[in-house]
Amino acid sequence: MSVVSTTDLPRRDGVTMRLSDTLWRRPTLLLVLLLLPPVLWLGIIYLGSLFALLLQSFFSIDHFSGLINYEFTLRTYAELFTPANFDIIVRTVTMAACTTLASAVIAFPIAYYAARYAKGRWRAVFYLGIMMPLWSSYLVKIYAWKLILAKEGILTWALEGLHLNWLLDAYLSLPVVGGNSLSVSTTGTFIVFVYVWMPFMILPTQAALERVPASMLEASGDLGARPGQTFRHVLFPLALPGIVAGSIFTFSLTLGDYIIPQIIGTSRLFIGQAVYQHQGIAGNIPLAAAFAVVPIVIMGLYLYIARRMGAFDAL
């Protein structure tokens, strides 16, 4: 009988050790394993769905029975460019652009203050002050505005108290932006859009501003620039990637929303409503799909430009 010391035997590796060795020897395999689940999910479920959508847009609908005619046609896209539908696209894009601009203007001071001046406890206050509206219920926010803007709503009540009703009436009598009351006017829709999506502008702007070293502003002052000039020539250009990053959200979210304009607005359709109504109410899925392709194309362009402006690093 021979005695073999166990320590003299080569160490037997366990399964995990062997697997670990294999993965070390083949880093590509590890990478593939890591990427496979997310890529499959997003690739199949998300891109697959987008593809299905694209496919639908090349079908058409039987106008009497409302049933889909599964034959390839460009008719649905032609329909997209009828004046009534084209109006919807123009109206939505204009609204998205205005919302984005206004959001940028309102968000900038908040972001700038938070990035540069808020210290200690105030920093926390600002942070929560920005996060709370961002994450609080979307529907709640919209309905709060409906109550405020209605003709017999809180704004009227408040203005009555201040004897400033004439001001509101004067504004409402303006063409295009006015209306019977703010809640049925384009202005109302605009206010709510800005309110709901503006928080998405603050954080990226703030992040971009935080990355502007204070010495950059001092250098500008040192070289003779007044505060206004410093803003125009240094601060704004440097914050721009952040603003563009934020605008991806404000623009895209406005582009696709169908609940806000339905609750507060003039009954004129926006793209989101068109998609929703053609799909859900009229059952015209091909036309809804074609409408949905519009924001995809617009956002594609937008993302392309944003990326070239370096906005992705600011996301």
Partner: protein, 328 residues
């Protein structure tokens, strides 16, 4: 006329006395260095001159004019920032021309002036690059050109060579010095590197804890430190305690002696044990323990080297042992 004058200037941040009762006079055309450890208030002093900070008390005059209420953009002073602070969204020429653009100069005129400034720092042809495409030394020179193009009467430089590697640094030191001589502008230069301060400045102010400890020509600072702090900070002198000095000289004061002035010999006033040896190329550093005091000697390349553990005697030339004011 003095270019910059501080009259008991303080700048406190809450409890922190960043600058604490500094009086200072920098004549026109001088190359003035501020030297001191981290946090000693050098940068704050510079920012007070530039106008980014306002003094808590005291008066600051630039060319005789009180500047208390003058914002930075109204002072004829320009700064080369430690991190250069080049505008990343502008190319080199637009960076340099920035001050002129603000002053309202036309595109052509300011580009011509900027091109000239770039030539001065030997960067002609780099105008269309972005700052991110430049090396550290090149960026530093762009920052210099950007400040110089405005023809400031005082140029402030905050550790402008801190980020450069040894070679580039030595080269830039010479260039800066040359430029200052050529332009005759007053330079106020902040550094925590004593070599840099000594090799470049006409006069050096040594800062500690918001105060100026000593001002003088580099040789004075180096060879005739007035207090132990200066002796220690500038060139790591050996500082001998009063007891030892009393035994050697009869005066019970602190004294300093530079490592390169310490020689090893058979006999001498002090004996020490060798605790370490390092070959530094240029010389060999010998760590010593003498009389309970850690000391260092620098031996020239060709001197015979002791071994670790050897007992040696230390000697020096008359006058190398520098007696100081303070006791500690």
């Amino acid at each position: 006329m003095s270019a910059v004058n501080f009259d008991h200037v303080s700048r406190h941040f809450g409890e922190v006395k960043a600058v604490d009762g500094v009086s200072l006079d920098i004549p026109e055309g001088e190359f003035f260095a501020m030297l001191g450890p981290s946090g000693s208030g050098k940068t704050t002093c510079l920012r007070l001159i530039a106008g980014f900070e306002r003094p808590t008390s005291g008066k600051i005059a630039i060319f005789g004019e009180q500047v208390a209420d003058l914002p930075p953009y109204k002072r004829h002073v320009n700064t080369v920032f430690q991190d250069y602070a080049l505008f990343p969204h502008l190319n080199v020429i637009d960076n340099v021309a920035y001050g002129l653009m603000i002053a309202g100069q036309g595109r052509k005129a300011r580009h011509a002036a900027a091109e000239q400034a770039l030539e001065m720092v030997r960067l002609s042809g780099y105008g269309t690059r972005r700052p991110s495409e430049l090396s550290g030394g090149q960026r530093q020179r762009v920052a210099l050109a950007r400040a110089l193009v405005n023809k400031p009467r005082v140029l402030l430089l905050d550790e402008p060579l801190g980020a450069l590697d040894l070679k580039l640094r030595e080269q830039m030191q010479e260039e800066l010095k040359g430029l200052q001589r050529q332009l005759g502008i007053t330079f106020v230069f902040v550094t925590h590197d004593q070599g840099e301060a000594l090799s470049m400045a006409d006069r050096v102010a040594v800062f500690n804890e918001g105060r100026i400890i000593q001002v003088g020509a580099p040789e004075d600072i180096y060879f005739r430190p007035e207090v132990p702090f200066v002796a220690d900070f500038v060139g790591s002198s050996n500082v001998l305690p009063p007891a030892t000095v009393a035994r050697l000289t009869g005066h019970e004061v602190t004294a300093a002696i530079r490592p390169e002035r310490v020689r090893l010999a058979e006999t001498g006033p002090l004996t020490a044990t060798v605790t370490g040896l390092s070959f530094l190329g240029l010389s060999t550093r010998v760590s010593l323990m003498a009389d309970g005091t850690r000391m260092t000697a620098l031996l020239p390349q060709d001197a015979p080297r002791p071994a670790v553990g050897d007992k040696v005697a230390l000697t020096w030339a008359e006058g190398d042992l520098h007696l100081m004011r303070g006791k500690a």
